[in-house]
């Protein structure tokens, strides 16, 4: 009698196929639409579709007259390999027809699963290739960003930009301070010059006053000489002829005294004019110009002070900028390293997909072993073997969020 599958095989064949299909579609969905919605949606669709298909086939099998024969547990697996007709006394015509119908239906399902497995294998291979290429591009870009950041920091360190700018500004500030000091010293010296000029002018006034007094003395002497000449003229007149010569001398003395008085008066007037002229020139040349010069120099000093202040602001800004660049570069370095580390997800995904491909291949073999029309089928495959490959071999189970679990063991 031909071997028929035991009831538990018929009962679990549908769920088994549904789980496999759901697993395959969940893997594809996870890659295509993301871990949570992809797995949930595609797994639900795959499970429902496969369950429905298997339920229909199970119903077909149950209704088959062949399965209403003796309990399948009593059938030795070896008998399943015996072609129909070898023991015609154990095979009824109706059973043979039912088995043929079941085998045909099963073969149809297996063909569909073949297509599904082939499609899943193609998809997983495609996902592996695409994620690998994308991860490589991301990795290359990350390395470029990292290299640029490293070069920038190295440049800042090697060039000593901050220290160099501060040094330049310090030198400039020192020069500006020296210039301000020179202007201040110059103004002090100019003030001292003005004071000294005023002292010289006062001394000149004193000398001029002395000369004026001297001319007044000359004028006094001239007046007395004139009186003396007048007295001499009177005395010469009394002496009549004897005093005629003396009268001439007296007249000459009188004229001389008049000339002396006139000269003294002119000298006094010239001295007064000279003194006034010197004072006017001093006021113009010294006081006015010095004040004007002081005003200009004060403007220059103010400009230098403003320039110094602006340069100090510039230095502060430059220093803040450089410090900010260094701080931000250091802050970005850690995320870059984490990103570089996170690229490992691609390798983990690739190996999980390869493991899935392996599961599909084994599942395909197992499914074909269920095909009782195959003369090579001698027994149901061992489900433990398949479970062991699917659950024990391959990558570690996926974790939520792909976080680093740091499973590290030192021997």
């Amino acid at each position: 009698m031909a071997w028929v599958p035991p009831p538990y095989a018929i009962r679990w064949f549908g769920p088994f196929c549904a789980v496999l299909t759901a697993l395959a579609l969940a893997a594809v969905g996870a890659v295509a639409f993301g871990p949570v919605p992809g797995v949930a949606a595609m797994a639900a669709v795959g499970f429902a579709a496969a369950w429905g298909a298997s339920w229909a086939s199970a119903m077909l099998i149950r209704r088959s007259p062949a399965l209403k024969a003796p309990p399948p547990q009593e059938i030795a697996p070896a008998e399943a390999a015996a072609p129909p007709g070898d023991r015609p006394e154990e095979v009824r015509a109706g059973d043979a027809a039912g088995r043929a119908e079941i085998h045909a239906a099963l073969a149809d399902h297996l063909a569909v699963y073949d297509q599904l497995f082939a499609r899943a294998a193609t998809d997983t291979a495609s996902v592996t290739a695409e994620t690998e290429a994308a991860a490589y591009d991301i990795m290359t870009s990350l390395r470029e960003v990292d290299a640029a950041m490293t070069e920038l920091l190295a440049f800042l360190d090697l060039s000593g930009s901050n220290a160099r700018v501060i040094e330049i500004v310090d030198q400039t500030d020192q020069q500006l301070s020296e210039n301000r000091q020179l202007i201040g010293d110059f103004l002090v010296r100019r003030d001292q010059d003005v004071v000294e000029c005023r002292q010289r002018l006062d001394e000149l006034d004193v000398a001029t006053a002395q000369l004026t007094r001297a001319t007044e003395g000359v004028q006094t002497i001239a007046r007395q000489t004139n009186l003396l000449a007048l007295n001499a003229t009177i005395e010469a007149a009394r002496a009549e002829k004897a005093g005629a010569g003396f009268a001439v001398v007296a007249k000459e003395v009188k004229d001389l005294s008049g000339a002396s008085a006139g000269t003294a008066t002119r000298i006094a007037a010239d001295l007064a004019s000279l003194r006034e002229s010197i004072r006017e020139n001093f006021s113009t040349l010294v006081t006015d110009r010095v004040e004007s010069e002081r005003g200009e120099l004060m403007k220059i000093a103010a400009a230098i002070a403003s320039l110094t202040e602006n340069m100090e602001r510039l230095v502060a800004h430059q220093r803040d900028t450089l410090v900010k660049v260094q701080e931000e570069s250091a802050r970005i370095a850690q995320p870059i390293v984490r990103l570089i580390g996170s690229i490992q997800f691609q390798d983990v995904t690739r190996q999980r997909l390869q493991h899935l491909e392996g599961i599909f291949a084994v599942a395909r073999t197992h499914l074909h072993a269920l095909d009782l029309s195959n003369p090579l089928t001698k027994s149901f495959p061992d489900p433990k073997q398949f479970a062991e490959f699917a659950l024990s071999e391959g990558p570690s189970p996926p974790r939520s969020g792909m976080n680093h679990n740091n499973d590290i063991e030192l021997f």
Binding site: M139, D146, V337, V348, R350, S396, H404, D407, I408, F411
Partner: protein, 124 residues
């Protein structure tokens, strides 16, 4: 003398990732895309301070590579870390028997990886 780490992995992305982590930490890196390439490089005289290898790499697995490396002169005692997605205890035991120093499951946190390296290579 700078610390040199050899990385062996058939995934170019993994090679770049681990290389990036190590070079950022100031470590020297020698890469090999297969176990055979790693053996050739080591036979040519490269003496890394530590070796990190993947497990599944085609013809020569990471465990086969460890067995080959342990027979090379001067490399009997260098630390070898297995960096793999697998975590089965029997595989770990096999790697340990072959001469592996440690087992790390991918993905690994960069800081954790560097900590292990510094633990095994003082001064790294």
């Amino acid at each position: 003398m700078a610390t040199t780490i050899m990385i062996v992995d058939d995934s170019p992305t993994m090679l770049m990732s681990i290389e990036g982590i190590l070079t950022k930490a100031g470590l020297g890196v020698v890469k090999a895309a297969s176990g055979e390439a790693a053996v050739t490089t080591l036979q040519a005289g490269t003496k890394p301070n530590l070796l990190i290898t993947d497990l599944n790499m085609g013809a020569m697995s990471g465990i086969d590579l460890i067995r080959r490396v342990r027979k090379l002169p001067g490399l009997q005692f260098i630390p070898i870390l297995m960096l793999t997605t697998e975590s089965q205890q029997d595989k770990r035991n096999e790697a340990k028997s072959a001469g592996a120093t440690g087992w790390i499951v991918k993905p690994v946190d960069p800081e954790a990886l560097l900590k292990v390296i510094r633990q095994l290579v003082p001064g790294a």
